[in-house]
Structures are given as structure tokens and as C-alpha cells.
Amino acid sequence: MNKLQFHYFHLMPWPDLPADFDERYDSAWITLPNSIYNPDKGHFLYNRYFDELERADKLGWDSVIVNEHHQNAYGTMPSPNLMAAVLTQRVKRAKIGIIGNALPLHDNPLRVAEEIAMLDVISGGRIISGFVRGTGMEYFSYNINPTESRERMEEAHDLILQAWTRPGPFAFEGEHYNYRYVNIWPRPIQQPPPIWLPGTASSETIDFAARHRYAYMTVVMTLAQRQRAYDMYRRFAEERYGYEARPEQLGFSLPVYVAETDEIARKEFEKYVMWYFHKGLKTRPEFFCPPGYMSERTMKGLLQSGLPGAKQTFKELVDTGVVIVGSVDTVIEKLSYYSEVLHAGLLVTGGHHGQIPDYLVLKVQELMAKEVMPHFRDKQVPLVEPDIALMQEVV
């Protein structure tokens, strides 16, 4: 068993914001005029981003991952399942993660069940299916009632899981979703596809993940916050559900940048990753937490600490472990803390931030794959390219 899995994540941002963005706009979401988006440049960018993901596959990353966001410059994948469909044709070996579909935004989540099933069949059972609630901003963009977010999330989850695994036709009778006939064609190969839940450490989501034994992936937070989240997951698993959580159930999504030396890494990375925190994530507090989206307890914590990354400097982000940056040795040391001390086994990271040039993305992808990854791979089972011909023979 590998000590750490390496998953390559892409947000597919729109990096070209106006020079006066900081002064002129209070949000990269919802209200940022879409005249800023240039479709011709977008054509180039999408294909460049797909190339990056294809490269990650060839370099030996365990999966490539896309996700869902709406009406923003932070991540331009309103339909992640479309992106995954493209990836099934470009990525031949790695798994393909959609982390995830924002379930409460969908008035008909049966469509999500169908699309993931299609992708699983097309990809030969390589889909990882994440479920998310979507950011607070999404509730403005899709005009979905944030006070119903958790209920819709849990109900859509139940519907999709049953649609994948229970012989149809059957009826699904929910408060928000009601079907006389659930009977999806095709059915997925995996029964069910692995389910991951990203979260910002709310106890509600951690409990949900622990209850169903899903992988819980911490996003945009400090090392200390992640540690508390994992402790909570393990405690819930043991005390409430009677099992011991495994490293494959604990993931961490964060920007990792590796270069020749610590100094070079910091120097190269700073301006690109700060695009992510200061521009991509920039939004109004009211957009970030619409009423009812978070429990009042979580809201209180947020009001006291402020929006994640909004004010922190690069140094603070590095020092608190919100990002990892450094030489190969430094990165190995920091990742080892996760695998050895926190027993978290899923690294989710990508090389693309802001306007980073492609040669730097390639450098990070390669150094990670060739210098960092082997340190965490099981020596008994060296990574080899699968023999496609042999696989076809077996089939």
C-alpha cells in the first residue's frame, strides 16, 4: 500500500483579470462582468489545461480531478461532467475525479447519477465521484435556497447512491426530490464509484463522511485546522460508527510547489499562488456565506477569523501550512508529516495557479512525479505503465 496517493487537481481558472481588478471589483464571482472573459483565449486555455492533465496521467499521478463552480473567474468548469467526458478520451491510465458535483444546486440530481454512470462505463470504471454543496456564491448564481442546502445535499446523495446500486425500477420519495421511477441506464461499473467529500471542517460534513466511510478532503485551511478535522473524523468513526478510519479516508487539498531550492520555489510561486488567494477567492462576505448555508456556530468562527486567505500574506500561508512550497526535500518532509503523523493518505494538488507559465507547471508536475512521489510509493510495487494490450486480452 502506498503511503500517499497523488491526485492532480485543476481549477481551470480565468487568470486574465483587469489591471484595476483590486480596486474596482469586490468579487471574482457572481457579479464580475463576463465581458472580461475572452472566448478565443478561453479556447486556448481549456486545451492547454487538458494538456496539463494528460501530462499528469503520463507522469504517473494517481488521478486527474475537475470540479464545479459557476459564474466566476476562479474556476471555469460549470459542468465538471463535460470536462470528465473529455478526459476519458485523453487520460488512459489514471482515475478521473469529479470532486465534485454540487448536488444541492441541481433540481434534478438523477441527471448527476446518470452522467457519472455514463462516465464510469466510458472510462472503464475509473471515476471518483465527489459530492459537494458548492460555495455560498453558487447559491446566488443558481438562485438555490441556501437554507435548504444540507437537506438537499443529503437527499440527493441518497438518491444517487440508490440509483447506482439498487436494482431498478424503484420509487424515491424525498422532501425535495421525488421520483416514481428510478431506473438509470447505463448503470456504473463500480458499485458504487468511490465517493469523496471535500469540506472546510464543519462537524456536519465530517460526520456525514465518517458515517458513510467516504474519503474526507480538507480544503483551504491551516495544518492545525486539518489536524483537528482528521481527529474529529477518527473520533466519529470510532465512537459513533465503530471502526478505525484508514489513511485513504483522509485527504488534503492544497497548493504544493516544488523547485530546485526553497528559495527558488518561494520566489517562483508567490505571485501565482497569491492570485488564487487574493483574486480568485475574492468575494463579498455576504456572497461567501448566504443565510442558512452554514450553522450559526460555524458562522461565528468565520466571523471571528475572517474569510480564508483574504488577508494573509504569502509568508503566513506558508508558515501555517495552507500551502506547501520548497525544495524536493522540504516538500517530502512536509508531506511526510501528513502521511506519518496525521495518517492522511490522499494528496490533492495541482500546478496551475493564476498566470503561471506552462514550463513551470511542467517542472512541478515532473519534480513531484519523479522526485517526490517515489518516496511515498510502496517499494515492493514500483509504478509501471499498465500494459494496455494485456488488459484488453484479459477483457
Binding site: N143, N145, P146, P285, K300
Partner: protein, 276 residues
């Protein structure tokens, strides 16, 4: 109470407060005015529960004023099942029963006005007259109600006032965590009722059923719910009267309490004369 709004109304009338259980909900109610006077049920606007303003004093001079905190605001909690405007209609019908109030005048501001309009659609026989002040409940295409949920608490207070928002009786000393949490709590109730749609799609059709004497009050400078909403209510409720208050924002009943009350008195006196 702020000096700016003491506006010659004089000393406060005596008020009493009590908590009654209605539909299992501990409901905070402020009452004032002569016990034998005609009852008036006043439904406050969002975020305006548990407040005693000049307008209450003015109403209590003429009426037996009953001013409950709407569930989810002030000191009345909202149970999770309560998430539809019709839940509120049934709640206030039961409140009238519990208090044994017959034939009250029903007045509501903004969110309270929406509930009042719905009550008048469903239970007109239990009411004497209807007063809608800057009421929610309708949609006028092309003139959307401002997106309250996108505004910070400061921005919201600035939008709804025509004058100086810092002299509002409920302008907080500090926009601290405690204040923001309270706003989040009360906004959650408003979102449960009015995130999408922020109105009752069936109300416009049903308002024609109202045959009660109806007064509609609007500030000409209401930036939250534009004055065209007042005209629309007037057009949909046969025989209703619209009074547009000049130089008045969404909080005409606070910032222009005398004019607001003047329009109400004129309307009531007219009703009294026609009843004789």
C-alpha cells in the same frame, strides 16, 4: 429611543409584554393602548422584531395594539418546519384565536405586509380593515426588490433609510460579531421564506378577493421595494387607496412617522364616517 425620532409624539404610552405559546412556539408579544379600543394587529418588517418605536405609540393612542415578534425575529424563535408564508398565515390566524381578538385592523410593514396581505386573502371575514406599508409579496417585472442578502448590514440600513441611517433607533453601536450573528440568524428566516421566489407567485391573482377597506402606504423614495409595488397593490385590490409619502424611504413609518400616521388616521376617519 433616539432623539431624532422623538418628533413630538410625546412620552411613551404604557406597554406590557408577555410570551404566549402558539402552535408550540413561545411568542413574544408587546401590547399597549386602551383595552376596550378596536384591536390592531401590527406585523413588523424583517429585522424589526422586539422594537418599541414612535409608530407603536401612535397606534396605541387609538387602538388596542397587539405587536407580536414574527417567528424568527426578535424574541420569537422559528421552528425548522416553519418555512413557507402559509405557515405564517396559519400562525397569525391562531394568534388571533389565542388572544380572542375579533375583527382587528391588520397592519403590516414589508415582510409583515406580505403576511397581512395573505391573511386578508384567506381570512377576510376575520378582519375589519387592512393597512399595507411598503409590503413584500408581489413581483413587478423589471423593478426587482433589492437583493438584501447581497448587502452587508451597513449597506442594508443605508439603503432603507432616506435620511441619516446612523440616527435610526436600531443603528447599532458597533457592527461586531454578535450583531452580525443576529443578522445572520434573522436573515436565515427571511431566506427560508423569500430566497427564491422572493414573493408569492399566486398572490397577484388572489388579491382581487380582498374586499376589505385597504390603505396602501409607500415612501416615494423607497429603494428597497420600489413605489411601483404600491401602485401594483392598489391596482390589484379593488377599492383600495394608495398614499405615497414624499421625501420618504422604505422606513417611512420611522423616518416620517407623523405623515405615515396622518395618512392612517385620515383613512380610519373616513372608514368611521362611512360606517355611521
Amino acid at each position: 429611543m433616539s432623539e431624532a425620532y422623538s418628533s413630538g409624539v410625546g412620552i411613551l404610552e404604557e406597554k406590557t409584554e408577555r410570551t404566549l405559546v402558539i402552535q408550540g412556539i413561545r411568542t413574544h408579544i408587546i401590547e399597549a393602548g386602551p383595552p376596550t379600543a378596536t384591536p390592531l394587529l401590527y406585523l413588523h418588517g424583517a429585522f424589526m422584531g422586539n422594537q418599541w418605536l414612535d409608530v407603536h405609540t401612535l397606534l396605541a393612542r387609538r387602538f388596542r395594539l397587539i405587536a407580536p415578534d414574527i417567528p424568527g425575529f426578535g424574541l420569537t424563535e422559528r421552528p425548522a418546519w416553519m418555512r413557507d408564508i402559509n405557515d405564517y398565515v396559519l400562525f397569525f390566524r391562531d394568534l388571533l384565536d389565542t388572544l380572542n381578538v375579533k375583527q382587528p385592523v391588520l397592519a403590516g410593514h414589508a415582510l409583515g405586509g406580505w403576511i397581512a396581505a395573505e391573511l386578508a386573502v384567506y381570512y377576510p371575514e376575520r378582519l375589519q380593515a387592512l393597512i399595507l406599508s411598503h409590503a413584500m409579496g408581489l413581483r413587478v417585472k423589471g423593478s426587482p426588490i433589492a437583493d438584501i442578502f447581497a448587502l452587508s448590514p451597513q449597506e442594508y440600513l443605508r439603503l432603507i433609510t432616506h435620511g441619516d441611517p446612523t440616527s435610526l433607533p436600531f443603528w447599532p453601536e458597533e457592527f461586531d460579531v454578535e450583531y452580525q450573528l443576529l443578522q445572520y440568524h434573522e436573515r436565515t428566516t427571511l431566506a427560508a421564506l423569500a430566497w427564491n421566489p422572493g414573493y408569492d407567485p399566486r398572490l397577484a391573482q388572489r388579491l382581487a378577493r380582498i374586499q376589505l377597506p385597504t390603505l396602501i402606504l409607500w415612501g416615494e423614495n423607497d429603494l428597497l421595494i420600489p413605489p411601483i409595488y404600491g401602485e401594483t397593490f392598489r391596482n390589484l385590490i379593488a377599492g383600495s387607496e394608495l398614499v405615497q409619502l414624499p421625501v420618504a424611504g422604505h422606513l417611512s413609518l420611522i423616518e416620517n412617522a407623523e405623515e405615515w400616521w396622518g395618512a392612517v388616521e385620515t383613512f380610519l376617519n373616513k372608514q368611521d364616517r362611512s360606517a355611521q
